[in-house]
Symmetry: C2
Subunit: 269 residues, 2 copies
């Protein structure tokens, strides 16, 4: 029984090559290493970033794509979307599984690299130097065949409890929604900072409010829990805000457009 | 020494009348009661909501503004902005301190109610039925004279460690910034939900991302930590997103405008 478990466990531990040592490559590499997988090699365009990550996850490294190891089970491409096609054109690994980590690119961008292609998209904003617990991060998995999907789901489950098979169409929708929920809400914080700066006030004064706003979505649909002048239709305050923004026409335009959108999407109780 | 402390403590505990039993009135009433203050009376337009809150905080209640108790030290108006002027016209409490809790209204809206007027603005999104810890909530205090300011700051400090004297101009700026950081970022979550719904995907898949986005502002200015296609200038993905939104022109317009604003506010490293 114990031996059996060891064998199963050994089978689940994969040999991996990481192509890319940026934000996603770094965090993913560390998470996979910590889960017991062996990172055989790290590729990056620059020797410096390849060697930096290789040191952390105890792997070999190269900055020459021609020297990619042929010995791994799974190849993970974690580089910028618009560079994936170029890199993919230089890779041919026949039967091995190869995935990219992009939210928007079709799986088919990898079609000439191997028989077994897929996508391994962690739905989180990752930063090289910021420690990340993958346990709750949804990992969206797609594959060109059932056997590869099974292997990739096993790999995803070894680092996250939140693994979902997602096709390309759904994944693109998720990525677009994530742009609103992450990049655009962060830009709302940025505009708040720009507004406060004029009165020499620090953004930290809004920290408890920002935290509570994010926490509140667990209590109900954001459409239902909306508060503030736009949803109340409080024209006096809205006009006062528009006046206050008269020295920044771009932000004023955003204020008007979102206020209109909140009012139009109001859910009647 | 012990007796001294008791006397000081007794002096700090105020008799309070709450005018309004909505989201702010309820949460503030409970916080003040828990801090040891005595809520003499709750006023609300309807007997039902007045009595509901009165029961929780063990106070008297009325729905007749003519029957407002004259015995309190501090009167707190926590009703809708556009009703404050009307209510204020019916109140005359001479020397007592009276405040409103609005983020945008001038303190002067209270000028005929008393010699001692002020503002007591808790910078948080409050909901009647959601328990709130006031400890970290900034409370913005303003008063018409030093003695009232001292009393109000003491009152604020009895429930929050984050009390700030803020004049009306600064408070209005904070409120405008809060609309972006709270209402507008919540609307970004709402749009994400609308987008996901088309593919029958639940918003919960974005929960870890939304939490991390809010948590990240503690690590640096949102202008500096921005990620995504807009800040990278990734036109291919941006155009694909615009296409995906072609069945919802309003959301498409918001996507274009915020993408432009992110690009224009890019901070060069």
């Amino acid at each position: 029984m114990f031996l059996n478990q060891l064998i199963i466990s050994a089978a689940k531990h994969k040999k991996i090559v990481l192509i890319g040592a940026g934000n996603v490559g770094t965090r993913l590499g560390i998470a996979l290493k910590n889960a017991g997988h062996e990172i055989l090699q790290v590729y990056s365009r620059t020797k410096k970033s390849a060697s930096q990550l290789a040191k952390i996850i105890e792997s070999a490294f190269t900055n020459d794509i021609e020297q990619l190891s042929a010995l791994a089970d799974i190849y993970i491409i974690a580089i910028k979307d618009d560079e994936i096609k170029n890199i993919a054109a230089k890779i041919n690994i026949k039967e091995k599984i190869i995935v990219h980590t992009s939210g928007t690119l079709d799986m088919s961008v990898l079609k000439n690299t191997s028989k077994n292609i897929g996508v391994f998209y962690p739905l989180q904003t990752l930063t090289k130097n910021v420690d990340t617990d993958f346990k709750n991060i949804p990992i969206c998995v797609e594959a060109s065949n059932k056997a590869s999907e099974k292997t990739l789901i096993e790999l995803a489950k070894s680092i996250s409890e939140n693994t979902v098979p997602i096709n390309s169409k759904k994944r693109k929708t998720i990525h677009l929604a994530a742009v609103f929920a992450n990049n655009f809400s962060n830009h709302m914080y940025a505009i708040a900072e720009i507004i406060l700066r004029k009165e020499k006030l620090p953004l930290t004064i809004l920290n408890p409010l920002i935290e509570e706003t994010a926490a509140k979505i667990k209590k109900g649909s954001p459409l239902k829990i909306q508060t503030g002048p736009a949803i109340r239709g409080d024209k006096k305050i809205i006009n006062e805000h528009i006046d206050l923004l008269s020295d920044n026409k771009d932000i004023q335009k955003i204020y008007k457009l979102i206020t209109k959108s909140i009012a139009e999407n109001k859910i009647k109780e």
